[in-house]
């Protein structure tokens, strides 16, 4: 089970995952995240401060979450992404699809 350390800032659900998101926990990550969306949270900010590794399996989950929230007129954004992780978003073109903000206050302002 992946712990997302959820908290609410006004109507925005802020999630604070830690460690790695890769093939070994992507499924659990997916269930946890999509479960939140299904439960009605359509505005989600992923605080990536504690994430030091993400593979395409993790990206895939983020992509699915981004699609779902956008379908529900919500949105998924990221903040505090470490440099080398940010590179992945850049290389994969995800940075064009999922908004990435430098820090949390800045990100929250966009909701």
């Amino acid at each position: 089970m992946v712990d997302l350390y959820p908290e609410y800032d006004n109507a925005v659900l802020v999630l604070n995952p830690l460690g790695r998101i890769d093939g070994t926990n992507a499924k659990a990550f997916e269930e946890a995240l999509l479960g939140r969306i299904d439960a009605g949270d359509h505005n989600i900010l992923m605080n990536f401060e504690g994430i030091n590794y993400i593979s395409s399996a993790g990206l895939r989950v983020l992509l699915m979450a981004a699609k779902r929230t956008s379908q529900s007129a919500g949105k998924l954004a990221l903040c505090a992404v470490q440099d080398h992780i940010q590179e992945v978003f850049k290389f994969s073109g995800f940075s064009e699809i999922i908004p990435i903000h430098d820090d949390r206050p800045q990100a929250l302002n966009t909701f």
Partner: protein, 681 residues
């Protein structure tokens, strides 16, 4: 014994009898002699007296004969017959006349006559050499004047008639005395010797551990009743025999008891021995199972190994296995000492070294770690000399550490053996905290390594000569093109022949490793192949076909490599991501259901300013570059899910190449080092 005594007594008796008979005969003859001389005297004087009135000078032989007859008439008939000769001499001692048949007087007879005339003495008598008797008397006239001399002579056998007459009685008497004496002495000696004979017989019986036979005992009892010394002796002997018999019985009982005790102790000892024997045999089998019975089976390397302890258990070991990252690790070692303690140390040493070899990719670190662990569990100050080597089967390099062991040999096919240079390490278990140096050698295809313990070179034959390095090298030269199995068999056969009947003093262990050449697929992508093969920069690991197991291990593998190469976090992340994506892809598409046959390896290396990663799998042909050609410009809704990872790799690395070699997918990634790219940007 008794026979000898009887014989001796009889001989003595016989000697006595013969001596007394001789004395008797001598006395008889002596008496005869005396009487003969007396007769001669009387006869001579009688003849002289009968010539009292005769004219000597004119006396004729006839008158002398008459004189003989006259005298014969006076004497008995018998004695007259004895007279043989009569000579008559005148006062000048010249023969005047003689009886018939008388030879002329000789000088001796004349001398005696002259002597008698001159001395005018009595009658001279003598016994002649032939036993006859002679008497010479002077003749006187009535006035007493000497008118001449007369000599008479007569034979003894005729005189000894007294003896002749009683000869038979003499002989019978002597024989009778002799027989009587012999009989007497026989009875006497029998009586003396018989008890001794009985005792001798009885003593023989007692000596053989039995009581005297009843007949013998009864005779001895009878003897013991007599009051002489023999009686006493027989009594004492009978008491002694009884005593000896009693002691014999007592001793026999004692011996029997002790024998029983001894056999019980013996049985206990045998049981204990059997138990130890069983224990040792068990230990022997356990130890035999500790050295790998199945050596790594890889077409790129052939291995053969052999170990036989001098005692039931030994202190040598060898090991050969494929490490977790796919290299061939092998070792040979010799624990100081022999026997159970060394065998235990051997078991520990082998296990520790094997696990260290899997934990530490660098042989020097594996050996240092093994040393530290052994030092911490070595109460008896045992130490282990060891050679530990790792062959990168794809690159064809040998990286090794020698911890005080005899340098193994390396030889090319048809070449002569050369010692693998020592790395200067000291034996394991001596001092903790030591660092060891490793050396890397390129291995040409078809080279053979021969590892051994001193049980081979120091094996002695019956004359105390050692097998020695020279002999071993000679043998290796002639066998350098053999396969490991037959090479080793040949050397062991040679060693056995050399040793002959001599005892094996030390454990004998050896191992032959033949490198058949690396894989073509790997060779093809190493730039500057020949030189590159010398480099030991490759790190390689075998990846288990399970994401959960392998991802953390690949991450750790990359971490170790990155640490030694001084990579930054971004470079580590890229390597992680790329290998993660490739592995995930293989597991999802290459082996969706069955992963048992999956062979996946990851290799990393620095080439100057470049990082090179090589990923291989034996799944179906799949080119990740084609799959990665995905449009990253699509809008979110249009984005397909998947293919993303490969796209990420392509984006993260400067160069990605793919080839299909030997039914394997080989993906090679190259990335300029971040520190280098910083300068250029």
């Amino acid at each position: 014994m008794a026979g000898r005594i009887v014989g001796m007594i009889m001989v003595l008796t016989l000697a006595g009898v013969i001596a007394s008979a001789a004395v008797l005969l001598f006395l008889a003859f002596d008496a005869e002699d005396e009487s003969g001389q007396r007769s001669a005297e009387l006869f001579a004087e009688s003849v002289a007296r009968s010539l009292l009135d005769a004219d000597i000078r004119s006396l004729s032989d006839a008158e002398v004969n008459a004189l003989v007859r006259l005298n014969a008439a006076e004497e008995t008939q018998d004695e007259a017959a004895n007279l043989t000769h009569i000579w008559v001499f005148n006062p000048e001692a010249r023969q005047v006349a003689a009886s018939d048949g008388t030879p002329n007087a000789q000088r001796a007879e004349i001398t005696v006559a002259r002597q008698a005339i001159r001395d005018a003495s009595g009658t001279a008598v003598s016994t002649l050499p032939n036993g006859d008797f002679a008497g010479t008397a002077v003749v006187r006239n009535r006035d007493g004047e000497v008118t001449g001399a007369v000599r008479v002579q007569f034979s003894s056998d005729r005189i000894g008639n007294h003896f002749d007459v009683y000869r038979t009685e003499y002989v019978i008497g002597v024989v009778a005395i002799l027989v009587a004496l012999l009989l007497g002495s026989w009875f006497l000696s029998r009586r003396l010797a018989r008890p001794i004979g009985l005792m001798v017989r009885a003593a023989h019986t007692v000596e053989m551990g039995r009581q005297p036979e009843p007949g013998v005992a009864a005779s001895l009892r009878n003897t013991s009743l007599t009051r002489d010394e023999y009686g006493e002796l027989a009594g004492v002997f009978l008491d002694m025999a009884r005593e000896v018999g009693a002691r014999e019985i007592q001793l026999n009982a004692l011996v029997e008891a002790r024998t029983e005790e001894l056999s019980v102790k013996n049985r206990e000892l045998e049981d204990a021995q059997r138990e130890i024997r069983n224990d040792l045999e068990m230990a022997h089998s356990v130890q035999a199972a500790l050295v790998p019975s199945e050596l790594p089976d890889d077409p790129r390397a052939g291995i053969a190994a052999y170990m036989t302890p001098a005692l039931d258990v030994g202190g040598d070991f060898y090991d050969a296995f494929i490490t977790d990252d796919g290299r061939l690790a092998f070792s040979i070692a010799d624990v100081s000492g022999k026997g159970v303690a060394s065998a235990l140390m051997m078991a520990v040493g082998r296990a520790v070294l094997r696990s260290a070899a899997n934990q530490h990719p660098d042989p020097s670190e594996a050996i240092a770690s093994t040393n530290d662990q052994l030092c911490s569990m070595n109460p008896k100050e045992l130490f282990i000399t060891a050679f530990f080597g790792v062959i990168d089967l794809q690159l064809g390099t040998l990286t090794y550490v020698n911890a005080g062991h005899d340098p193994p040999y390396i030889m090319s096919s048809g070449g002569s053996p050369e010692m693998i240079p020592h790395t200067g390490g000291i034996a394991l278990g001596v001092l903790p905290g030591l660092s060891y140096t490793e050396t890397t050698l390129p291995l040409d295809p078809d080279v053979t390594l021969f590892l051994y313990t001193d049980g081979i070179t120091e094996a002695e034959n019956s004359t105390g000569q050692q097998f020695g390095r020279e002999r071993l090298e000679e043998k290796l030269t002639s066998l350098s093109s053999e396969a490991p199995g037959s090479l080793m068999d040949d050397i062991l056969r040679d060693l056995a022949e050399f040793r002959g009947e001599a005892k094996q003093f030390d454990d004998i262990t050896c191992m032959a490793v033949q490198f058949n050449g690396g894989e073509a697929s790997l060779d093809s992508y190493i730039p500057g192949q020949g030189d590159a093969r010398l480099a030991s920069g490759w790190r390689r690991m075998v990846v288990q076909p399970s994401l959960d197991t392998s991802l953390p291990r690949v991450a750790a593998f990359i971490e170790r490599f990155a640490e030694s190469e001084g990579f930054d976090a971004t470079e580590v992340f890229r390597l992680n991501l790329a290998l993660d994506e490739l592995l995930t892809n293989t597991l999802e598409h290459g082996f969706p259901d069955e992963t048992e046959d999956a062979e996946i390896t990851v290799a990393l290396r620095s080439e100057g300013e470049m990082v090179v990663a090589r990923y291989e799998d034996n799944g179906p042909a799949f080119n990740p570059l084609e799959a990665a050609e995905q449009d990253t410009e699509l809008e979110l809704d249009e984005r397909p899910i998947g293919g993303l990872g490969l796209q990420l790799i392509a984006a993260s690395f400067d160069a990605v190449s793919y080839e299909r070699v030997n039914d394997r997918n080989v993906t090679t990634l190259r990335q300029r080092r971040a520190s280098a790219s910083d300068d250029s940007e």
